[in-house]
Amino acid sequence: MAEKKKGLNLNRVDMPRQDPKERIKNFNEVALGYTEEMAVAEAERCLLCKKPLCVQGCPAEVKIPEFIALIRERKFIEAARKIKETNALPAVCGRVCPQEEQCEEMCVLNKKGAPIAIGRLERFVADYEAKMGAVEKPEIAPKSGKKVAVIGSGPGGLTVAADCAIMGHEVVVFEALHKPGGVLVYGIPEFRLPKVIVEREVEYIKSLGVKFECDVVVGRTVTIDDLMEKEGFDAVFIGVGAGAPIFMGIPGETLKGVYSANEFLTRNNLMKAYLFPEYDTPIKVGKKVAVVGGGNVAMDAVRTALRLGAEEAHIVYRRTRKEMPARAEEIENAEEEGVIFNFLINPVEIIGDENGWVKGLKCIRMELGEPDESGRRRPVPIPGSEFIMDVDTVIMAIGTRANPVIQRTTPDLEVNKWGYIVADEETCKTSKKGVFAGGDIIRGAATVILAVGDGKKAARAIDHYLRTGEW
């Protein structure tokens, strides 16, 4: 198709979303996705740069201009396959990647404030392909005769599994929970990432020949040494995430009505507690809920609380809006839904009633001081400014850390002082021969796409190791 000569089109095509008044009553996906016409219109804006910067911003190395060019030609299925050449999880990444900090930030049109909506386009073609029932497997290399164990079925593990399978290796994924998907299943809510999409991506990876064994807690049910010495695995990838919740260590955290965000979200997402009593797992949300934290997990928790019927849902954050690590889009969604943001306050105590239930959250006001090592201005408490927030539920969403179960049972695996596994940045190789690690377990809680990026590097390094024996 001939390129039309035209000026810059800065009208980024909006993606329809459910009305805020409606969507806080349901768990359906908030974003509704582009129509074909919208997708083509957005793709038309792309300048198809000769030296595309967007690709440099993508840890999954997606061939962005190529797939956008195919959308322009209405070759949507071909576009989806183009993405899948490098990223097995386009429907997931199109939804939950922070594109504004990655591909879209690099887009030349971002300088004009209207980057191409790469994420929305990615999601559109992935959904289109699935809707058409046209999902096709890539070509799979001849069998190598080598076996790869992937521990953890989150985004990193799924990527390694898919890539290693395509490279001809036999892959088994071990998952501790009863369902594959890791954080995509237990952590990210239905309204942001419908679970059928995760299931679809997992089915696709199964179709590549990957086997999944759930209910296996590596470190307890079986050790890495067992896998390599007794079960014949030639290489192991550890992608278990940073799943252990952090509490603040303030008085009152064992009161009833206090949750970790992990617990609150797992009950709801993995166990479907929002469908109780049809599903057996209960969840309790009070009338006034405070979620402590400013990241994506905090947004997920507070928006879940609203949907479960909380009358007031608060974010309690010790810095200001500017320092919040959550995606701008998620903060806006939360605001539209009526979440109340409380900045520059920090909890110091959770107050309980005579029966052990939360009845208030004692906070202290903060002000911003000098920047700390993260470059954000450090919040400093203002003496004597304590006050009590009237809440009956408190959800701690202040981060997670490494779960030590694998490291404890694999003595020759080097970990750093925070308990994260030490791995080479380029190859994901650990201190133990044949063992690779990537995603949150090597760097601490981060994003889906960084885990995908590690997965890609690890798969290449695993393939090299299995074919050459070089370590």
């Binding site: 501790a176 929970l177 009863h178 237990y186 759930c214 209910d215 296996v216 807690v217 307890r220 049910t221 079986v222 799943g243 252990a244 919740p245 509490f247 260590g249 955290e253 064992t254 009833k256 009505g257 949750y259 970790s260 992990n262 617990e263 797992t266 009950r267 166990m271 479907k272 109780f276 009593p277 049809e278 599903y279 057996d280 797992t281 209960p282 309790k284 029966n355 052990g356 779960n403 179960v405």
Partner: protein, 283 residues
């Protein structure tokens, strides 16, 4: 999917199963537990592994029917499948030769106690065991415990078997009889464990307890099982389930177990209404 191969009803409300779970059977050590989910809509609950046959890939579980999940599991028959069995979870019991070990088990707490006592026996300890139940028909594992214990004292609340009274009465009597006790292992309801520790306190006899906290994933991911032990907050699923009884805040443990009492009641009522036949004739 995990196949049930054998089932035994100790009582209309207490059930035992042997389940195919080869990986768990291979790795299980005394003190560890599993998390099960009975079907696609089920919740995840922790259950004790009472025994195992690694060569046959079997584990033995015993549970009391208290809520919807355990009542429903009680309807499963040999040949049926439990959707998920994951484990073994938690830290194994620290077993060594202490000398004289007294086991105190209350109700279905006898189920987790038995494998620990077996381990203690194998390590060369002399065992005295106190078993408590509300009444004779609710007493489990008596023969098996007798087979490994030098002495077994049974107490029942209603006096229908053994001594009428509580395990703490029997424990106090035992101590006062001059028996030199090196270690106590107490497992049962929170209130029982709390008072066992209180009974032992004047004599400074060490006591291990195993906590029956609420759990979700069982792998240290959610923290619902957290409990104050000494000055620290611990996760029962990964740091426990066993702790030094002197350090456990039992009131907190018991309080936290009531978080979902209303919902549990609601789920059970709903299940009763849908399946009245299961509950026919059961008090």
């Amino acid at each position: 999917m995990f196949k049930i191969v054998e089932k035994k009803d100790w009582h209309p409300t207490i059930c035992e199963m042997w389940v195919e779970a080869p990986r768990v059977a291979r790795k299980h050590r005394p003190g560890q537990f599993v998390i099960i989910r009975i079907h696609e809509k089920g919740e995840r609950i922790p259950l004790t592994v009472v025994d195992k046959k690694p060569e046959e890939g079997l584990i033995r579980i015993i549970f009391q029917k208290v809520g919807k999940t355990t009542w429903e599991l009680g309807t499963f028959k040999p040949g049926d499948y439990i959707a998920d069995v994951v484990g073994p979870l938690g830290q194994p019991t620290h077993i060594e030769k202490f000398g004289t070990v007294v086991g105190v088990g209350g109700g279905v707490g006898i189920a987790p106690l038995y494998p620990i006592l077996k381990g203690m026996k194998e390590a060369g300890n002399r065992l005295i065991t106190i078993l408590g139940a509300r009444s004779k028909d609710l007493l489990i594992l008596e023969d098996e415990v007798r087979a490994i214990s030098e002495e077994v004292i049974v107490t029942t609340d209603d006096g229908s078997y053994g001594k009428k009274g509580l395990v703490t009465d029997a424990l106090k009597e035992l101590i006062e009889s001059g028996e030199k006790i090196d270690q106590v292992v107490a497992i049962g309801p929170g209130i029982m464990m709390k008072f066992v520790v209180k009974t032992l306190e004047p004599y400074k006899i060490p006591c291990i307890v195993s906590l029956n906290a609420m759990m979700l994933d069982g792998t240290g991911m959610c923290g619902v099982c957290r409990i104050t032990v000494g000055d620290e907050v611990k996760f029962v699923c990964v740091d426990g389930p066993e702790f030094d009884g002197y350090k456990v805040n039992f009131d907190e443990l018991m309080s936290r177990l009531t978080v979902y009492r209303e919902e549990e009641q609601q789920a059970l009522e709903r299940f009763k209404n849908a399946h009245p036949e299961i509950f026919a004739g059961v008090e």
